[in-house]
Symmetry: C2
Subunit: 125 residues, 2 copies
DNA sequence: TATTGTTATACTCTATAACTATA
DNA sequence: TATAGTTATAGAGTATAACAATA
């Protein structure tokens, strides 16, 4: 939990909040999504996600578009600026983590290498 | 980060928010603290911490007291009810984590045993 | 009628700026 | 003057309830 907290501080410059950033990552990795899908992914209610989407759209980091098949649906997509924020944040986090790893010796890095997939499994359980 | 997020869901019954809970843990583990010390510990501004403290005091989970040496200072302390919330939350998190560990085999548990102190070191760096 | 999205309203956490009280 | 705490005000995230539009 302490590592997660520290890592969260490493992000792109600007006023993008944590929930906004999380949505940008989803849009970046998985492409345009409906508000409902985003709400489910973030485990948040639709009105709450609507607000986050409004902030992203207002900041020029995402756009609202229509779904071709269903007039009720809306598709949220990251703009180039939005993708850039996600990419820059990931870059900074990778840099931070790489620096931490550099301070370890080979056996310590090997231990983390073994533990990583196990921890990943715990998160999904 | 995914494990931290999942673990955060395991908490005592009631309306104690995440920041409030974090403060209760600090008070429980380290005893009474000034608002400024709590603000530093949570990496939050004094007004923000003041509000969280107000919520805890209002809920009967903490008290405001005077510092004997300096009339400006205030000492926040957890009440018995506050300690109980912290203890119960820790208990639930331990239970959750124990259940996850049960699903692993001996070699996997051994791998995490080796990795744990290394990860702890990363968080402090 | 059911689903998707949004608006209305309210509460908490967050911050900056300004104010009070004590050293 | 400097420090500790608080209040004032404002913005963002969260929720539930209610509303609009489309299937």
């Amino acid at each position: 939990m302490r590592i997660a907290r520290r890592l969260r501080l490493e992000r792109a410059e600007g006023d993008v909040s944590d929930p906004q950033l999380s949505v940008l990552f989803t849009l970046w990795k998985e492409g345009p999504q409906t508000p409902s899908a985003l709400a489910d992914a973030e485990r948040v209610t639709p009105p709450s996600m609507n607000r986050t989407v409004n902030a992203l759209v207002g900041a020029g980091l995402a756009t609202r578009g229509s779904a071709p098949d269903d007039g009720r649906k809306v598709l949220i997509a990251a703009t180039n600026a939005g993708v850039e924020v996600a990419r820059e944040t990931k870059r900074r986090r990778m840099i931070w983590f790489s620096r931490q790893l550099e301070r370890l010796d080979d056996s310590e890095r090997a231990a983390l290498d073994i533990a990583a997939p196990i921890l990943r499994g715990l998160a999904d359980a």
